[in-house]
Subunit: 185 residues, 2 copies
Amino acid sequence: MALEHALLVSLREQPASGLELAKRFSRSIGYFWHATHQQIYRVLARMDDDGWVTVTEVPQTGRPDKKVHAVTPLGERVLADWLATPTPMEPLRSELAVKMRGASYGDRAALLDVVRANLADHQIRLDHYRQLEKRHRADRDPARETLTDHALDQYLVLRGGIRIEEFWVDWLTEYLTAHEARLTR
Amino acid sequence: MALEHALLVSLREQPASGLELAKRFSRSIGYFWHATHQQIYRVLARMDDDGWVTVTEVPQTGRPDKKVHAVTPLGERVLADWLATPTPMEPLRSELAVKMRGASYGDRAALLDVVRANLADHQIRLDHYRQLEKRHRADRDPARETLTDHALDQYLVLRGGIRIEEFWVDWLTEYLTAHEARLTR
DNA sequence: GCTGTCATGTAACAGGTTACATGATTCG
DNA sequence: CGAATCATGTAACCTGTTACATGACAGC
């Protein structure tokens, strides 16, 4: 039950419509959380019912009205409480890892191709995140002390995104290297 | 829909009862996949219906009978097909990361404690995995060429477990260090 | 005219979690 | 005698995914 809270974080940064939230979730927050618009609409409706957010219909020219959601004082309290409660350690869940482990029960060459495709995807995403980091440094350096606490948090979460993609690139490379060494023997 | 396939991998390594599988999932395979016994029983029943596994009741002395599941030729084909199909890149989903990002909307000191607790958990798990790796090396080194392909896969997935825990330890340490530096300023 | 974007939603289903239930045996 | 372990399961619920639906405007 964390999508609610992820939405609260995003809405406290900036009130938004359902679709705007969905777009944010494929960017920054999306380093570590993902949600489709259908899911977001459903949860937003519940949050409105529970009084965590208020909804304001904003008319627009040349496009449909949008419903802008903003966090209420109750929502702020709910978020603050959640932030202070311990989070149990979450295990990574990876289909690819299961495939790598079971490789000998199928066509290994085909599986190595699957791994290569995933490696390429992670490499692209890593490059993208590194671009973002570069832009961030160009904006702020060398006056790092001027960062607000929240901007520092955003930066550090981006660092996490970079690190997780480095994990994938390094690990998948290790896997491929070990098996390619065998094939040529 | 990957629990089925994870179970097939585990059952090809060694036929097992539901509870035995649940235990394995909190160990080796569990580096990257987790499942409770309730879920495993439900999925095993479906796999039996679909003819992917056969069930043999094995009487035991002094404890309840167990139902040992073994993979059928059909199950083997299903597994091999699955192994050769591409896996889309899976985003990491982390509640802790959302909290770190939203830290400024709550009590930051409390959140840093939450992060510290998670760091300690990951450190313990990393130490455990490193022990396993050490044991593995002691068993096999320096005759690494004698490893079967499957044993190599098992080792490389353990390497992934080590790498992911290193990711957590390094990243959470970076986060704490950056914020602790602020507090003492 | 077709495709894409903005914007909101419904419905059905699949997957995963939590709580509860049963019954025997072993260990302190 | 009580607690823990082995072993299997049911039921209710929550979360997340996929497919489908609507309607208007913008750009090629």
